[in-house]
């Protein structure tokens, strides 16, 4: 039985009060409660404050390039689909730099869990707008305010028929833990957008800004109804829904590849002599 101590990593270098701390603690608790050992999971990340996450727990880790966590995760999952693969990333890393990979990994539907720590700003580069920054907010490099429309990752994911789409809030850890566990136990690609205040640079979307707006999706909501899900995904502003917005039972890619129906690729043996037979095809 794993304990929280098993997951204790190096000391985080985040700003005091950062929303990432509670996501980190909650993630560890969720892993322990799901009886997962550190060596049974690989956490892949890109670059950004959220991408430092795997160093602050103990697990197999691939901290890759900015925006490129998902393709690395896909390669790992295809090579070893018995591995639990998580991606921790931020709104800039995933929705900005890595946007194309997000679209196509939703399509692939590998059993990968993508947690986007969404603070609606670039923290590591000290305060530029991210794709989820709200239109009109002024930044040093945007003296007239952000002119591009705010991206809606939830609506995007529902539109692409993403297997599991949810939103959580770093300020509601019990709820967040439930979502992490549901995502982990769901079979298919899961996108969890985790709202998280940036205490240093985001003076608009603060802890209290979120606290006043978020609400848990009401009982009786049917997350398998795609049209209703799209409507729910569009909610933003005065009221921001938290919970599972959409899920479906699309078959996962790794179960549709006959070569790995018995053993993951990493366990396949190799017989070099076999090439003799193939060479004959060239005569």
């Amino acid at each position: 039985m794993p304990s929280l101590d098993d997951y204790k990593g190096i000391d985080p270098a985040w700003c005091p009060g950062c929303g990432n701390f509670s996501i980190l603690d909650t993630f560890k608790e969720a892993m322990v409660e799901m009886d997962l050992e550190p060596h049974q999971l690989t956490v892949v990340s890109g670059i950004g404050q959220a991408a430092k996450f795997p160093h602050y727990i103990r697990c197999n880790t691939f901290n890759g390039l900015h925006g490129r966590a998902l393709p690395v995760a896909a390669g790992i999952k295809l090579a070893n689909h018995k591995m639990k693969v998580f991606v921790t990333t931020g709104d800039g890393d995933c929705y900005g730099e890595g946007g194309n990979h997000l679209l196509h990994n939703i399509r692939r539907n590998l059993d990968i869990k993508l947690f986007v720590h969404d603070n609606q700003i670039y923290g590591l580069t000290k305060g530029q707008p991210s794709p989820t920054s709200m239109e009109g907010i002024k930044f040093k490099i945007h003296p007239f305010g952000v002119l591009s429309e705010q991206m809606n990752p939830m609506a995007l994911a529902v539109a692409l028929d993403c297997s599991f789409v949810a939103r959580a809030f770093s300020g509601d850890q019990e709820h967040l833990k439930g979502i992490i566990k549901e995502a982990a136990e769901h079979k298919g690609f899961a996108l969890v957008d985790i709202l998280q205040p940036c205490v240093t640079f985001n003076k608009v979307n603060t802890f209290s800004w979120y606290k006043e707006r978020v609400y848990q999706i009401e009982d009786g909501y049917d997350p398998t109804d795609r049209l209703a899900a799209f409507e729910k995904a569009l909610e933003w502003g005065d009221r921001i829904p938290l919970g599972i917005i959409y899920k479906n039972q699309r078959p996962i890619m790794e179960e549709r590849i006959p070569m790995i129906s018995k053993e993951p690729l990493i366990r396949h043996s190799f017989d070099q002599k076999k090439i003799e037979e193939t060479l004959k095809e060239f005569y």
Binding site: V44, N60, F62, G64, V72, A79, M259
Partner: protein, 572 residues
Amino acid sequence: MDYSIRITGEAGQGIQTIGGSLAKVFARSGYHVFTHQDYESRVRGGHNFYQIRFSDAPVMSSRDGIDLLVAMDSAGIDRYLSGLTENGLVIYDSKTLRQKHEDPNFLDVPFSDLAVEHGGNKIMANTVATGAVLGSIRMDTDIFLDILKHTFSKKGDEIVQGNIDAAKAGHSYAVGNCWKCSFDLAPVSGPKMLIAGNDAIGLGAIASGLKFYSAYPMTPSTGIMNYIAGKEEEYGIIVEQAEDEIAAVNMAIGASFAGVRAMTGTSGGGFALMVEGISLAAMTETPVVIALAQRPGPATGLPTRTEQGDLEFALYSAHGEFPRIILAPGTPEQAFHLTNRAFEMAEKYQVPVIILTDQYLADSQWTFDKFDTDKLKYTDRRLRGDALKEQGIYNRHTCTEIGVYPMAIPGESRHLVVTDSDEHDEEGHMIEDSETRIKMIDKRLFNKLPAIKKDIAPPAFYGSDTPDIVIIGWGSTYGLLKEAVDVLSKDLNISMLHFSEMYPLPEIEKFNYLDILKRAEMTICIENNATSQFARLIRTWTGFEFSNRINKYDGRPFTLESLIGEINAIIG
């Protein structure tokens, strides 16, 4: 005997089918064959050709003179008639081309009519044409009919029989109507294997235990993905089409990290997108093999044509200082073995290895008696199973004298595998301090380099042992240079130095090629690019400057005659 056949036509007219079948017939008969393709970047229309040279002696380049021109379009006649040899022959269908030639060098074969009459479908005109070529050179149709049976077996007996009848009709028409046909074929015995560069790379990768190939389609590298995908199920390989080349290289790195041999392939433009990934492979010390099939740039350039323009790009691609290995095969056989080398070296040194080819080698077919599979290596250097479980402590980036620490398979034990694109400590966690930074640079770069350098094979040296003239080349020009030496040796004291293990440059301890160059009166560096990139590499690393250079940068390969002409012009 040494004959060249050029099949010309629009894209979509089946000239690849005709050329491919003929090349196979000649190879199976036992002739030495060399083919190369010239095609435009379009699916239908335009003008393409497929050239086959075959002989009873080894051939490894294309020649200018055409002995037999198969014209499926009129442009073929307009453009290449002047290249016809004295006893050369043009085979065409006057009805389809709507032009009639009375010259005795022309053989009018009603491809379409014979196809309809004997095969039952106009579409079999290609089969008639192939049969007519075989009839013109007085070869029988047995092997061709076997090929047809195999090719069309899935389409049913009727189609097979139709093609057989069409082939026979074309053959007997040519035998009965070609007075001018004076081809004299030397007796040979077969069969020989026939293989193109791209297939050889795919085959070499499979023979090296490849388990994962991710790529985005890009000419002329796509053939590698096609070949491997065809063997996916048989060999238990996953081929994944990536959303872009950035994903392709990152996926391959992910799969390699997870514990399997992984590869990607592309051309210059896609490679440009991959370079950050190459830097990632270097920093995380994750083995990855990248095939870079060059085509002329900049930008989209000439998508279906050839150039050796990306050597320096491959050499200096990606930010930061780290070791890399660049291999540039000169023949499909070398492509097969060097792909195996690429995997072995990538695993041994945990570095990115680039296989540098070009459209010319990618699409050219060569014949060989056999590939020597005894030379293949497979060394599993991954820590797995009991060996891993018994390991006391595991730190992925432990510093060692040779710079390499075994890669553990994540999840196979309680050990954790941690790596980072940030500078990191031995465990794999990000650091900022200067002491660790220096230690890790030493590990990755300086500790690995001596062994890598020692491992690099010397260039191929062919011709006179003490030459007055040395012609130098790399990669796909191997066959051209070798044949040029054969031709020029009759009058000159000449030899060839050909580099296929390009970088790090071979050391001179094993074989002092610099000494040979310095002693020669004339050293001519031959490159399919505009600025002699290899000459610059040699000068940078050795200080040696070649006395002369030959460059070709029109997007086409050298032909044997054109190359010899340029060498003679320099020698005077």
